[in-house]
Symmetry: C2
Subunit: 450 residues, 2 copies
C-alpha cells in the first residue's frame, strides 16, 4: 500500500506513548522513506527508541533519509555500541556526515566500537570538508579491472548482488592494478554486449574526474554535463563517486544556506529546535556589525540637526528614502548573486552590469521619485519640498542599484562570499548617501522649504 503524508503523521501521533515492541510492529512494514517521515514527526526524546526498535540494516536506511542534524541528535541518544551497529551499515558518505554532526566525544565513542578498518575508513572521509568533492563522495561504487570481459563483470554483479544492492548502478569504473581510474562504461552497455568483449573496449576513456578538494559549487557545474562524477586522489586513484542524489542534496542545502546568509544569519544552518544560545549568537554576530553601520549612517543626520530642526517634515521622509533605496538596491544584489552563481556574469563584467542597472535605476527612481515627491508637495503645499524629496529619491535609487549590482561582483573578485556582506554594505552606503543628499540640499534652500 502507499502511505500519504497524513497517514504517516497519524501513525506518529499514535506512537508517541509506545514501547519498543509497538514501534517495531508499526515501523517494520514501512518503506525506509516512510519510516523516516514517522520518526521525523515523533517528539525528539523518543526518536532514538523508534530507531532502535528496527533491525540495524533498516535503521541505517531510515537514518539516511532523515535531515542530518536530526539524525545526529537521535544517534547521540543511543548507547554507543548499538549506535555503532547501525552506523556501520549506512552509506559511507552519510555515515561520515552523521559523525561530523555529532559532538566529538559522541563521535569518538561510536568510532571506538567500530572495527579498526571501519573506523579508519570513516575517519578518512570525516577528514574532507563538507562542501568539497571528498566530503560529498561515497566510497561505494562498482569497479572492475581492465583485464575483465563483459561476462566477468556480469558474474561479479550476480555474485555480489547483496553488497551492490544500494550502490549507484548506472556506471562501472575500470581501474588498473594500482587502482588508477582508466575508463568508465554504462552498466547497460556492458550487460548488453557479447560476454567475451573486454570491458576496456566498451569503456570510454575520456574521463572527467574531480579531486577531493574540488569545491562543491564547482562540482555542481559538472552535473550540468554528467550524471555521476568519480573522485580521484593526486595519483588518479579512484576514491569514490558523487552521485546525482548527492548533488541534488548539496544544491538544496546550498540554496537554503545562501538564503539564510542573505537574510543575515551567519554560520550555515539555523533550525528552531537548536539551542537558544546557538540561534541568538548566529543572528547576533551579524546584527552587531549592522548596528555599528547603522550608527555610522545615522551620524549623517546628526550633522544636519539644525537643518532638520527648521524643516521637521524632512524627518518623515528620511526613513522612506532609506527604506526604498535599500529595497531597490537589494533587488540588484539578488540579481547579481544569481547571475554570478549561474555563471551568467563574472567580476570583469563590471561596466556592463553598471550600465544595465543605471537603466533600471533611472526608470524606477523617476517613477518612485514622482510618487513620493507628489505626496510631499501635496502634504505640505510646498513644491520645493516635493522636488527635493522626489529628486533625492531618484538620485539615491540610481546610487542604490549601482552599488547593489556591483558590490557582489567586487566581493566575489576578492574571494569573499557575496551573500553575507552585500546587503549591509549596500544599506549603509545608500543610507549615508540618501541622508546627505536630502539634508545637504535642504540646507542650501532652507528659506524655500519653510
Amino acid at each position: 500500500m502507499t502511505w500519504t503524508q497524513q497517514d504517516l503523521e497519524d501513525l506518529a501521533k499514535s506512537l508517541e506513548k509506545s514501547d519498543e515492541r509497538t514501534f517495531a510492529d508499526a515501523l517494520t512494514p514501512l518503506e525506509p522513506g516512510d519510516a523516516a517521515e514517522v520518526v521525523r514527526t515523533l517528539p525528539r526524546p523518543i526518536r532514538h527508541v523508534a530507531l532502535l526498535s528496527l533491525p540495524a540494516e533498516t535503521a541505517a536506511e531510515v537514518l539516511e533519509q532523515l535531515p542530518d542534524d536530526l539524525a545526529a541528535a537521535a544517534v547521540m541518544q543511543m548507547d554507543p555500541g548499538r549506535a555503532a551497529a547501525v552506523v556501520r551499515r549506512m552509506k559511507s558518505d552519510e555515515e561520515a556526515d552523521l559523525l561530523q554532526d555529532m559532538t566529538p566525544p559522541c563521535a569518538e565513542a561510536i568510532l571506538a566500537k567500530l572495527s579498526p578498518d571501519e573506523a579508519a575508513a570513516a575517519r578518512s572521509l570525516i577528514g574532507y570538508a563538507d562542501d568539497t568533492a571528498g566530503g560529498l563522495m561515497q566510497t561505494e561504487f562498482i569497479s572492475v579491472t581492465e583485464a575483465m570481459t563483459a561476462g566477468d563483470v556480469a558474474r561479479q554483479l550476480r555474485k555480489r548482488a547483496t553488497e551492490y544492492a544500494d550502490y549507484p548502478t548506472s556506471y562501472v569504473y575500470i581501474v588498473d592494478g594500482d587502482g588508477k581510474l582508466r575508463g568508465v562504461a554504462s552498466m547497460r552497455e556492458i550487460l548488453l554486449c557479447d560476454a567475451d568483449t573486454p570491458v576496456a573496449e566498451v569503456a570510454s576513456t575520456e574521463l572527467v574526474t574531480a579531486r577531493t578538494n574540488l569545491p562543491g559549487l564547482e562540482l555542481l557545474k559538472l552535473f550540468r554535463r554528467f550524471r555521476q562524477v568519480p573522485v580521484v586522489d593526486e595519483a588518479d586513484r579512484l576514491l569514490g563517486v558523487v552521485t546525482h542524489d548527492d548533488a541534488l542534496r548539496f544544491a538544496e542545502d546550498e540554496a537554503d544556506e545562501e538564503m539564510l546568509r542573505l537574510a543575515g544569519i551567519a554560520g550555515g544552518d539555523e533550525f528552531r529546535d537548536m539551542s537558544l544560545g546557538q540561534r541568538s549568537s548566529r543572528r547576533l554576530s551579524w546584527l552587531s556589525v549592522n548596528v555599528l553601520l547603522n550608527v555610522a549612517a545615522a551620524s549623517v543626520i546628526a550633522l544636519y540637526q539644525e537643518t532638520l530642526q527648521q524643516v521637521i517634515a524632512l524627518a518623515v521622509f528620511l526613513p522612506i528614502i532609506s527604506d526604498m533605496s535599500g529595497c531597490s538596491g537589494n533587488q540588484a544584489v539578488a540579481v547579481s548573486i544569481r547571475e554570478l552563481s549561474l555563471d551568467r556574469i563574472k567580476p570583469k563584467h563590471f561596466l556592463w552590469v553598471l550600465r544595465k542597472e543605471l537603466g533600471v535605476g533611472f526608470v524606477n527612481g523617476l517613477a518612485l521619485g514622482i510618487l513620493v515627491g507628489l505626496a510631499a508637495w501635496i502634504w505640505k503645499s510646498n513644491a520645493t519640498l516635493g522636488v527635493l524629496v522626489g529628486g533625492a529619491l531618484w538620485i539615491n535609487t540610481l546610487v542604490a542599484v549601482s552599488i547593489g549590482g556591483l558590490v557582489p561582483l567586487l566581493l566575489r573578485r576578492f574571494g569573499k562570499d557575496p551573500a553575507i556582506a552585500s546587503s549591509p554594505i549596500l544599506t549603509t552606503l545608500t543610507d549615508m548617501c540618501g541622508f546627505f543628499v536630502v539634508l545637504g540640499a535642504a540646507s542650501q534652500c532652507i528659506e524655500l522649504l519653510r
Copy 2:
C-alpha cells in the same frame, strides 16, 4: 581530451568573427556540454549560427544544455524549417520548455513545420504548467508489457538501442494492454535474472506515481525517497517519467526564484540581458506597493512632529530602530520560510514558533538595545534618552521577530507565497510600531529629554 572552462572561453573568443564552416570545425569535435559552454559565451547575435553549423542531432543536445531563455532566444533567430529539424530531436520535456519560452508566433511557426503527430505530442506537453509533474516529465521512457520475459526485454533493449540511447535507463516500467502502469523493475534486476523469468515476477508492484497536475514542490519531496517518478493520467495510464536530473534542475530554479521573490522581484526570472521594460516593470510592481507601505509607516512620524521638533536627536535614532528591527525580523522570516519549505514546521505550529522567536528576540533585543542606548546616552549626556531609545529597540526587536516568524506561517495558511509578501508586511508593521513606541514614549517624558 578534457576542456577547461578557460579553454572553452578562449575558443568562444576566437570564434566571434567566424563563418558557419569554421564553427562546424571547432564545435563538432566537442562534447555537447562543452559545445554548449562555448555557445553560451558567444555574443547573442551569432549563437544561432553556431548551432546551425552543427548536425541537427548534436545541435539538439547542445540546446538541451543551454539555459532555457538563452536557448529560446537562439532558436527564435533561426529559420522555422531549420529550427524544427533541430527541435524535433530534443528530449520531449526540453522541447516543450523551449517552445514555451518563445513568443507564440515563433513557436507556432516551428510547430507548423513538425509532422502532425510530433506537433500534437509537443502541444500536449506545452499544455502542462511548468511547475507541475506534467510540465517536468519527459515522454521518453522504457516500457514493456506484462507478458514479456526478461529475455524479451533484453532483446527489445538491443533492438532499439539507438532510440533508447538517451533515455533514463535505471528503471523499466511494466504496463498492461491499456497502457496502465502495473509495476516497475530496475534494469539491472531484469538483465541479471534468468532469461525466461516473466518480468511481472521481477517487478515491484508497490508504486508511487504522480498525477500530471502534482505541484513541483510536492513532487520534489518524493525524490527524497525515489530516484525516478512515473507520471500517470486519471486512469493510471503511464504518460511519462520525471528523472533525478529534471528534479535537480527544478530545485535549483525554484531556489533561485525564491531568492528573487524574497528580494522583491515578482514574476519569476530576471536576467540582465532581458529588456529594460521587462526588468523595470517586474521590480517596480513590488516597489510601488512598498512605497505606499512606507508612506503609511512614516505617517506615524508626522503625527509626532511636535515632539520631534523639541527633541531633534530622536530623528537620528528613528532610521536606526527601523533598520535594525527590519533586519531582526527578516532573519526570522528566512528561518520560517526555510523550515516551511523543508516541512519542519506547519502553519499550525504558530505558538511554538512564537515562543522560540520571543526567546531570541529577548536576548538579541536586549543586547542591541544596550548598545544603541549607551550610544544615545553618551552622545547627548542624557540617561533618559538612552533608556528610551534602548528600551524602544528592545521592545521593537521582540515585535519584529514575532511578526517575522509568524507572517510566513499565516501567508502559507491562506495559500499565499510567503517569499514575496513576508518582508514588506514585516517592515511596515515594525516601522509603525517602532516609530510609535519611540515618539509616543518621548512625548510622555518630554521634559526629561530636553
